[in-house]
């Protein structure tokens, strides 16, 4: 077994890795291409950073291509992102033209790779029109939608539908995110990588160094939300919850740590709103971290007593998975994939309001034994369900299914 697979086996057990190898064996040499719109920042890039090497290790010939565009393109796709999650916003004609032109240009650049691939996985709406620009394609194409499409702004969805309808299948994280499409819609929740800097075990010294870096007092409670500065993550609601909770938990510290993604032009504006809401309070740290600050984020989550993710809209919520993996109970917004991960009294609490978050902070911070039990259960829950190995297993099963046609049963033997 290779060094990488041995490392995974140490975390998830030999049987899981053996299952991966058995699934991959008949796919040796399969040409797979993943396409998305950013190499760094955001959950998709994080998953691909780790999944692509693992699939290669298993014998598949996997490439990861990134489409490139200008600010107008990204402002268009950000509008799509907001609209698909329910905001009543429409891209301008100029933005749509940039979207279509950008995809055409990228299709010309990637044509050779895409037309020869046996499996192409297109992530999210940004590169979705590529399919229409590669009519000579030989392989099976699948659209991987990481967004909650349950209640999209209909004009935007109607615009995008012709771009995605022609795929051989779609993948959604949850059944409630999916829409009716003229092809099979598969359900594959995303995952985190236990070997990544963001999730690997850290020494006490590494955690202490990050506490010191941000002047966090180890003798006082700390609650942390890690996510982009995005209104759907409700960072202002988190500050409101912290203000209520600190009346009962004196000295409670709050960290709001956000990265930046190259495809998110709204981040700076939301960051200003958050800074304004926090004022100059010394117990609130608003940290704008670079995309490669993975060890820092890892240490902040480990240094915390609780992790919070008070989203009002959420795709899957990988920061929740990360918090659970660090053995922390998570207070999460009662939306999207957070509902799949946070189970009241088992791995944390679901909340609908800042008041709800404050109530649960107050409860958990005054019950150390409950925090510990929930944390231990949370880590095992992630180990069994939301690590990269499970995710890759399902992708490999999907590849078999795509190659075999619509059979309900695929016998790899």
């Amino acid at each position: 077994m290779s060094a990488l697979l041995t490392q995974y086996a140490e975390v998830v057990g030999d049987a899981v890795v053996e299952q991966l190898r058995a699934l991959a064996r008949p796919l040796t040499g399969l040409r797979v291409v993943h396409v998305n719109s950013t190499r760094v920042g955001g959950g998709v890039a994080e998953i691909l950073t780790k999944m692509v090497p693992l699939m290669r290790e298993l014998g598949l010939e996997v490439r990861w291509e990134v489409i490139t565009g200008d600010d107008l393109f990204y402002s268009c796709t950000k509008t799509f992102h907001n609209a698909l999650q329910g905001n009543q916003v429409n891209p301008t004609v100029t933005q749509l033209k940039a979207y279509e032109d950008t995809n055409l240009r990228n299709a010309e650049r990637l044509r050779g790779v895409l037309s020869g691939a046996e499996i192409v996985v297109i992530h999210d709406p940004q590169p979705a029109p590529l399919l229409g620009h590669v009519p000579e394609r030989k392989g099976r194409w699948v659209w991987r939608c990481h967004i909650d499409l349950s209640q999209p702004h209909r004009p935007v969805w109607k615009y995008l539908l012709p771009h995605v309808a022609g795929y051989d299948g779609s993948i959604f994280s949850l059944s409630s995110f999916a829409r009716r499409l003229p092809h099979p819609c598969y359900l594959i929740p995303p995952s985190i990588d236990p070997l990544a800097d963001k999730n690997r075990d850290l020494t006490d010294r590494e955690v202490a160094a990050v506490r010191q870096q941000f002047n966090l007092d180890p003798d006082r409670y700390l609650v942390t939300q890690v996510s982009r500065f995005d209104r759907f993550k409700d960072p202002v609601g988190v500050i409101q919850a912290w203000e209520m909770a600190r009346r009962y938990v004196p000295g409670l510290q709050l960290v709001l740590a956000g990265g930046t993604a190259t495809d998110d032009p709204e981040g700076a504006e939301v960051l200003r709103e958050v800074q304004e809401a926090a004022g100059q309070h010394p117990d609130v740290r608003i940290l704008l971290l670079p995309a490669d600050a993975n060890v820092t984020i890892n240490a902040l989550q480990r240094a915390s007593d609780l992790v919070i993710q008070k989203s009002t809209r959420e795709g899957f919520g990988l920061t929740v998975t990360e918090g659970l993996w660090k053995g922390k109970p998570v207070i999460g917004g009662n939306v999207g994939g957070i509902r799949l991960q946070v189970h009241d009294h088992h791995t944390g609490f679901l909340v609908d309001t800042p008041e709800g978050a404050a109530v649960r902070m107050r409860y958990l911070l005054s019950h150390a034994g409950v925090r510990e039990r929930m944390g231990a259960r949370a880590r095992e829950f992630v180990r069994e369900n939301f690590l990269l190995t499970r995710h890759t297993t399902e992708y490999l099963a999907l590849f078999h299914t795509l190659l075999e046609g619509r059979a309900e049963r695929v016998d790899v033997a």
Binding site: A15, Q19, L187, T347, A397, E408, A413
Partner: protein
Amino acid sequence: MPTAFTVMDCAILARTTGLAVQSLRELRDALLKAEPESIYYHFWGGLLRPTFDDPEFINDFAVWAWRELRDRALAERLAMVDPAAHATIEELREELLEVIESHLDGLERPLWVDRDGQFDFLAARVTVIPTRDTIVTPEDLPGGLRRFSRGSLFYHFIDARRRHDESLDDLRAWLGGFDRTRYAPLSARLAGVDPFQGSLSRLRDQVLDAVNRGLAEVPE
């Protein structure tokens, strides 16, 4: 001497079916047209899904009645629908419909939930994978079973019931190739395992217990 038992594994890939319901009446109507694969999935697929749902309400219909419709009596009745007691999915569908329709007859007001609580009918594609593990004799079973992944347990003890007559699991089917009289106690113990009570980890414990007891009863 029969051939060695080849340990198989499986991966489940869930898919949507396009059916979703928000009320008990809609559930009844949807059950009339749901794919057999979907009904099967909602009885067994939960074993391979992440959940802390109330384990006593074993199938997804019962869990939905309990958690979303908040109808305890209906949840209890649905939880007692035993798929292993039916030879076909169509028979199982009929029993589900009977339970739901009789409950609807007694309702004074409609039972419904908002969109967040809707029931999505799913189905699954099963990918079957050979492992390199084998079990040569029944006496090797305890060690072999401890190496089973969750997928192997699902394949050999749950999926098997669809592949064999009389709801046999793969172990009992394999034991049939040996001296039937000698291993009759072991087969009888395995027949007593109820795969429908709880998680796959619990199923492993149950099977191991049955195998250990059954082997102790095998004549020298």
